[in-house]
Amino acid sequence: MAKSLREALNSGKFVVTGEIGPPKGTNIENMLHHIDLLKDKVDGLNVTDNQSSVMRYPSLGTALLIKERTGEPILQMTCRDRNRMALEADLLFAYTRGIRNVLCLTGDSIRVGDHNEAKGVFDLDSVQLIKMVRLMESGKDLGGNELDGAVEFHVGATVTPEANPIEPQLIKFEKKVEAGAEFFQTQAVYDLDKFREFMQYARQFEVKIMAGIVLLVSAGMARYMNANVPGISVPQKLIDEMASVPKGKGNALKKGIEIAGRMIGELKEEKVCDGVHIMAIGKEEVVPDILSAAGL
C-alpha cells in the first residue's frame, strides 16, 4: 500500500478496511493467501486478537506478516490477556517493526471463549489503553519511567451505535475520543437510518468513523446475531430478503454480498461516514466481490 491508513482517512477518500482472523495452529497458508488477496484492495487490514476469547495465532505476529507482505496492518489489542507491562512491551516491538495502527479494545469475556478456566487480566480498560499509547508517545511508560526511544501510533477504538441502552456507550465513546482515539470502527450496522442518526451525533467530534459491515451468509445467521450478539440488530426486511432467495449452493451468500455491497455503496454515495470496515468472518475470499458490488 502506498498510503498509510491515517493518510487515506485524511485524504477524504472513502476508506475500506478488511479483517484477517488468525488460525488456531501453525498452518498459516490460508491466512497468508487472504493477506495477499486483500492487501492491495483495502486501505488497512485488522488483525483480531484471540477473537471471541479463542486462543489463536497472535495478532502481533500476523500484523508483522502483513507488514512484510507490504500491507497496512491494524493491530487489534485487547486488555483481556496481558497486563500493562506486556501491552507496553508489545507496542515497543510493533513500533520498531513499522506497525503504526493500533485498535484499542477491552476484549471479550474469557467465559465466552475456549479457555474458560483462564484468568481474565483486564489490568487496563480500553480507555486507559488509549491513554497509555498516548503517554508512550510522550516518551514515558505507565510506571513513570523514561523510554529510550518513544513510539508513534495511529490510535483507533470501537463503538456500538445500536447498543441498548445507548447513553452509557456514548459516554464511553466520548471518553475514548478525549483519551486520544483518532478513528473508530463500529460494531456491525444494518439499519442505515439508525446509523445516520448516530453519525449526526458523532460528527461533532473530530474523529474518523468507519461503519462495521458484517457479511450476512444466511437468514439464520441474521436471526442468530439478533438473538445473541450485543448491539447487533438486523432489520426484518433484510432477514426476509436473505430468506427470499431460492435454496441452492451459494445463492444466500450471493445475496449477502449484494446487500453488503448495496449498504457500502449507499454510505459512500451519501458520505454518511468516512469509510467501512468489512468483517467477512471466514469468507475473506469474497471481499473483492463485496467491493465490486459496492462499486469500489
Partner: protein, 224 residues
C-alpha cells in the same frame, strides 16, 4: 456482610480423609448456617455421608462463629473427644478453617475444609440469592459510582464505563447478572450526577491490594 460458601463435592472431601479413619466435624453458626452449607443440618448430613463411606465420626459441634478466637476455648473444652480423631473436618469459611487449624496445631490434628469460600456478600432480597459486595481493592470508588461497585459487579472490573458486550442492561458473561455500568448510569442519572461518569479513571494501583495483606493499626495507648 457474610462469607458466602459452597460445599465441596463429597469426593474431594473423601480424598482429604483418605488415610484418616476417625473424624471430628465442626460447623459454624453464623455465615455457613445462613447459606445452608455448614449449619447443624449440614453437619448431621455430612456425618451420615462419612459414616456411609466407612469413617467413624467421633463427635461434632456447631461453634457460634468459628472464625472467632473463642473457638480455641470450644476446642479445649472438647479436647478429649477431638484428640480421638485423626482429622478435623471444618464446615465453615476459610477463615474458620485457619482458626481451627492453628488452635489444633498443638495436638497435631489436621483441619480440612469441607467448603469453598466464594466471596464476601449479602443476601439481595431474593430468597437464597447472595451477591458479592466488595473485593477489597483498597481504593474505594463508590463515591464516584453512585454507591455501586464496578470492581466487584462488572465481570471485567472496568473503571471507565460499560464494554461492548452488555446487552439490554445485562452482562456479557451471564445474562442473569446485571451490567454494573448500566446500573451506575441509571443511579447517577437519577442523582443528577452524570458528569462524574465522564471523569477518567486511571489504571488501578495494585500496590493497594497487598498479598498477603498485613496492616498495622497504630493505636495510641492511654497514659495511666
Amino acid at each position: 456482610m457474610n462469607t458466602i460458601t459452597e460445599q465441596k463435592p463429597i469426593e474431594e472431601i473423601k480424598e482429604y480423609l483418605d488415610k484418616d479413619e476417625k473424624v471430628y466435624i465442626i460447623g459454624c453458626g453464623t455465615c455457613a448456617t445462613m447459606t445452608h452449607t455448614g449449619g447443624k443440618t449440614e453437619v448431621l448430613e455430612m456425618k451420615e455421608q462419612l459414616q456411609e463411606a466407612g469413617k467413624e465420626v467421633v463427635g461434632w459441634m456447631v461453634i457460634p462463629s468459628v472464625c472467632d478466637d473463642l473457638t480455641g476455648d470450644a476446642l479445649r473444652e472438647n479436647a478429649e473427644v477431638i484428640q480421638k480423631a485423626d482429622a478435623i473436618l471444618v464446615m465453615s469459611c476459610a477463615f474458620g478453617v485457619q482458626t481451627v487449624a492453628s488452635f489444633a496445631e498443638p495436638w497435631n490434628k489436621p483441619a480440612y475444609p469441607a467448603l469453598n469460600t466464594l466471596f464476601i456478600g449479602k443476601g439481595n432480597g431474593e430468597f437464597g440469592v447472595f451477591s458479592e459486595v466488595c473485593q477489597q481493592c483498597g481504593e474505594c470508588l463508590l463515591g464516584w459510582t453512585g454507591g455501586i461497585c464496578p470492581v466487584t459487579m462488572c465481570a471485567k472490573g472496568l473503571l471507565n464505563g460499560p464494554c461492548g458486550g452488555t446487552n439490554d442492561g445485562k452482562c456479557e458473561e451471564d445474562p442473569d447478572k446485571d451490567c454494573a455500568w448500566t446500573l451506575i448510569y441509571k443511579r447517577l442519572e437519577k442523582l443528577g450526577k452524570l458528569d462524574v461518569m465522564r471523569k477518567y479513571y486511571p489504571p488501578r494501583n495494585y500496590q493497594k491490594v497487598q498479598r498477603p495483606g498485613r496492616v498495622l493499626v497504630e493505636i495510641e495507648r492511654s497514659q495511666e
